[in-house]
Amino acid sequence: MADFLQNCLDGIATGSAYALLALGFTLIFGVLRRLNLSYGPSIMAGVFAGTALYTAFNAGLAEIAIATVIGAVVVGAYIERLCFWAIRKDMAVASMVSSFVIWMQIEEGVTLLFPDRTYAFPGILADAVVEFGPFFLRASSLAMLAIAALAVLGLLGLIYRTHFGLAVRAVSENPEAARVAGVNTGLVTLLAFACASALGGLAGFLIAAGDEQITPLFGLWATFKGLIAMMLGGMGSIPGAVLGGLLLGVVEANALWYLGVETRDLIAYMLLFAVLTFRPGGLMGQAALMARRAAESRV
């Protein structure tokens, strides 16, 4: 039991970073109804911007975090213009495929610039451990949890309390009505993309700081984790993204402890399979799915 609770604690810390990735996917999927497969690679490019600052100038943590976020936002905006803005409406598959192509471009570009593949990344309070009675958490995990929680709260505030968030929700639900209500949908989409990339950059920084290293494969990893967490929670649901991320973290931590590292990812996929079999809309997406169907059948 103590092991299980300890695993849950570790899982929640990792899961908070997954939640950030899932939130980024959710924002993009919400406003565009299209998948951005290059989301992970854009974060990876940001993390490499951070590591460049670290290896070349031995910069401090704050500067590296800012460079990571800015790098992710710049590459994210590039993807938005190329794969989404330039390919409009009704072409969801074309957007997804081109986002896959850009993924290759980003990965090759980073590999060219950083030929050693594995680079060091500075850790947060590397070896410190915080104890809570019988349980403990690495200080870096605690920092990850705290920063991720702040970012999630900030995003929820932005989406549910400000006019910008209202515009994002309006565009998500009905872009045409939003345009007629005077919303500049192109600008809102670009800014939502930038928010998603900033969240991703922050998640990338936290994860790389936890691992204290980075490789170009991080892009693949981030896309997978974010997508799985989003689908667990429910496509397009913001609370669902948080729940899905935390659940994925907890399940992975327990699978790692009880079954070993080689079954960890298998268990994560089995969890996704089970959730999608019994609740096709995801854990939190089901209510939205049902309500939308009901509304459609009524009209």
Partner: protein, 248 residues
């Protein structure tokens, strides 16, 4: 106030709107009628920049807004409602109005203040409009839970939330009963008395004949008549094309 100059829209070989010229004066209630498929809604969509024009121009208050993106048309002072209601069902009633306030207040206070601004001001302004639309007690309800007539009123209130000078109503009476139609007529007159100009696209004849100052009749994308309601009623071309079928 609103001028259409030889406006045309062709979809493939179909001339949905063909060489249409109109002038709607300040403070006027202008009716646009015609049989199904005569190009009424296409005209509204062309004015609002939903799709590009084939040729011709749309001029609003002396400013050329042909093919301007929709949010710019709204910012210029044109609001609209849809034939089939398009609300934000997942937002509450007052939030539906708050969305639309954006474009106008943005210019007054700067977009950053507006976008990060809290809910209070949005709520105050929405309150007045909801009173006008008879929805004051429904402010916190999700829009998708409203009854059909309430949704129509909310859509009109949303169009007003952007403080338009010209309001385009695309078949606002569709699906309404006689009492709701007469309430709608009262509201349209009240808006005009507040200085608003209204372009009314409609099928329900009693509404069009009752409230409009002038009417243009479309058939196969072309204007076949224009004049006061009484003139339109007795116009032989109109009777054949449109009213004639109703009389027969």
């Amino acid at each position: 106030m609103l001028e259409l100059h030889s406006l045309s829209k062709h979809f493939g070989g179909v001339r949905a709107v063909d060489d249409l010229s109109l002038t709607v004066g300040q403070g006027e209630i202008f009716g646009l009628i015609g049989p199904n498929g005569s190009g009424k809604s296409t005209t509204v969509n062309l004015i609002c920049g939903v799709f590009p024009t084939t040729s011709g121009a749309v001029v609003f208050e002396g400013q050329d807004i042909t093919d301007a993106p929709s949010h710019r048309v709204v910012a210029a002072g044109i609001g609209r409602t849809f034939q089939n209601i398009r609300l934000f069902g997942d937002l509450t009633v007052w939030q539906n109005l708050w969305v639309a306030q954006n474009s106008v207040e943005e210019r007054q206070t700067g977009w950053l203040t507006r976008w990060l601004g809290g809910q209070r001001r949005g709520r105050d302004y929405a309150g007045e409009l909801l009173k006008f639309a008879g929805l004051a007690d429904r402010a916190n309800e999700l829009a998708r839970n409203l009854a059909f007539g309430e949704q129509r009123r909310l859509e009109m209130a949303r169009a007003l939330a952007a403080r338009p000078k010209l309001l385009l109503l695309d078949e606002p009476a569709a699906g309404m009963n006689a009492e709701e139609v007469s309430q709608l007529a009262t509201r349209i007159r009240a808006l005009r008395d507040h200085g608003m100009t209204i372009l009314l696209v409609e099928h329900v004849m009693e509404l069009v004949m009752g409230v409009t100052d002038r009417i243009a009749v479309l058939n196969f994308g072309q204007k076949i008549a224009e004049g006061a309601p009484a003139e339109i009623r007795s116009d032989p071309a109109v009777r054949t094309a449109y009213l004639g079928t109703a009389d027969a």
